[in-house]
Amino acid sequence: MSAVVNTVREETPFRRFVSRFAEDRIAVAGFVIFVLIVLAAVLAPLYAPQNPYDLARVDLMDSRLPPGAKSLEGFTMLLGSDGVGRDIFSAIFYGLRISLAVGAVSCLIAASVGMTMGLIAAYFGGRVETLIMRLVDLQLSLPSVLVALILVAMFGKGVDKIILALVLVQWAYYARTVRGSALVERRKDYVKAARCLGLPDARIVFGEILPNCLAPVIVVATVQTAHAISLEATLSFLGVGLPQTEPSLGVLIANGFQYMMSGKYWISFFPGLALLITIVAINLVGDRLRDVLNPRLER
């Protein structure tokens, strides 16, 4: 859209959405914090005083220094150092990269799989629907931590396996959400029209029905991303998630656990705080999206 049109300020659905979202200042703050966290994570190598996984730069002599201490290399360890002398401040932002990436990738895959299954269930109905939805019911009746633990027990450790486990835990939420809205959309006139035009099933499902089911999916996706990050951290903390070579926030917190009892709180505390801020920021955005995108609250 060109600048000339902008001066007229015509009302597009997107602009209405943005202005309604912005009515809640706390949600906007959550969004801003989230964007800052993502930027900080992506740009970590540019500003972090230390690459915590470059063994040449980590010195065991620096281990377990309290926040604010000077490292052997001369930079200040703002948040202290961990058991092998890594700078916690740097480790947090490198860890955030892994946590966010695992959360985002697993959510993207889970959303694609879940939406496809949900649409298939709603559009074709019958036995296919029963089979898919029974599976969804079975899975959602069990707590996600339990399902994730069982899946991890099946697959073993590793980034790809954790992502697979997170996808399998989450797809059911998307499937149920999409099926719910697709069942409503399927009966509408535009779908009948598309069918009369002789459009192929795939085109009707993905080209016509899917775009109209996206609003609730966006809400679920936001909440589920936070959930996935938290779940991955939990699994990593329990020692059945990511390996030490992929130190997400959960791994960092787990590493600090053994020093907790001797009062060296900072090794676990600060990575946990970073995790908490990330999750709260995403949840705030999700809460607001739920209000804005809910057709029942439409003014």
Binding site: L146, M154, F257, Y265, S268, L275, I279
Partner: protein
Amino acid sequence: MFAFILRRAGQGLLVIAVMVVLVFFGVNVVGDPVWILVSPDMTQDQIAEVARSLGLDRPIQEQFFLFVGGILQGELGRSFVHGTPAIGLILERMPATLELALVALMLAIVVGIPLGLYAGLYPDSAPARGIMAVSILGFSLPTFWVGLMLIMVFSVMLGWLPATGRGPVGHFLGIPTSLVSWQGWVHILLPAINLALLKISLVIRLARAGAREAVLQDYVKFARAKGLGRGRIVGVHILKNIMIPIVTILGLEFGSLVAFSVVTETIFSWPGMGRLLLEAIQRLDRPVIVAYVIVVVCLFVVINLMVDIIYSLLDPRVRLSEAAT
């Protein structure tokens, strides 16, 4: 009513059967537990002997049929690591987990309902806003991190409460429990708070929503018109009505408390079945993993059935036979 229970029990058995098949084959396709159990200096023959003694040299379908045959005789396989029946290991640790989950549930009710009720009766007051902010935080906080913080503050910094173990275990009606001694209560407090936090947030939300709806109802207006005191209206009439959804959901959540106890038990070194599961996963002790899943799924099925029955008793408007159709 009887037909309803029978039908639900049948559905429950089906769920259990599906889970047994899924988990058995799922767990048995990864890794080779033999390599975790043998020492590096063993010969090939000795390794093969270990595999044979565990029954791992047979084809998977044969293992499965042996396993199913065992289930029918009340036997869920032998632990590879401990060499004792898996079900025995789990039942031995179950009281500790159930005790933790029960105390957490109690905490959720005792703390959550008054706070939620207050927030619902005075939704715009400052304390109510504070309560809601805390409950949102409670939903976002990762359980394991809260556990660490509880240890840091109450055990390390203040030194008030112990951070690990179960304390002295007494016996009540033959069941080992820490709830009979003061020391036991001191030990269970931190883990129970940790486990309860999520549920407290949930109860606050439920109680608040229920109370906000209830104060607008005619029976509250009528009670007020009749001249009843505020305490009696809130404590008897409103509380009774909002308890129905809370009891239902808390009943269903009990299962999730048991599942979440894996995390809490690890942090607080609580000797329950959650920690057993985690050890089993790390050491590829397949029979224990499978047995744990079967026990927990059974627990879920029983809890769901009980909640349905209690629900119908609490709310006479619900007829179970209708619900079943």
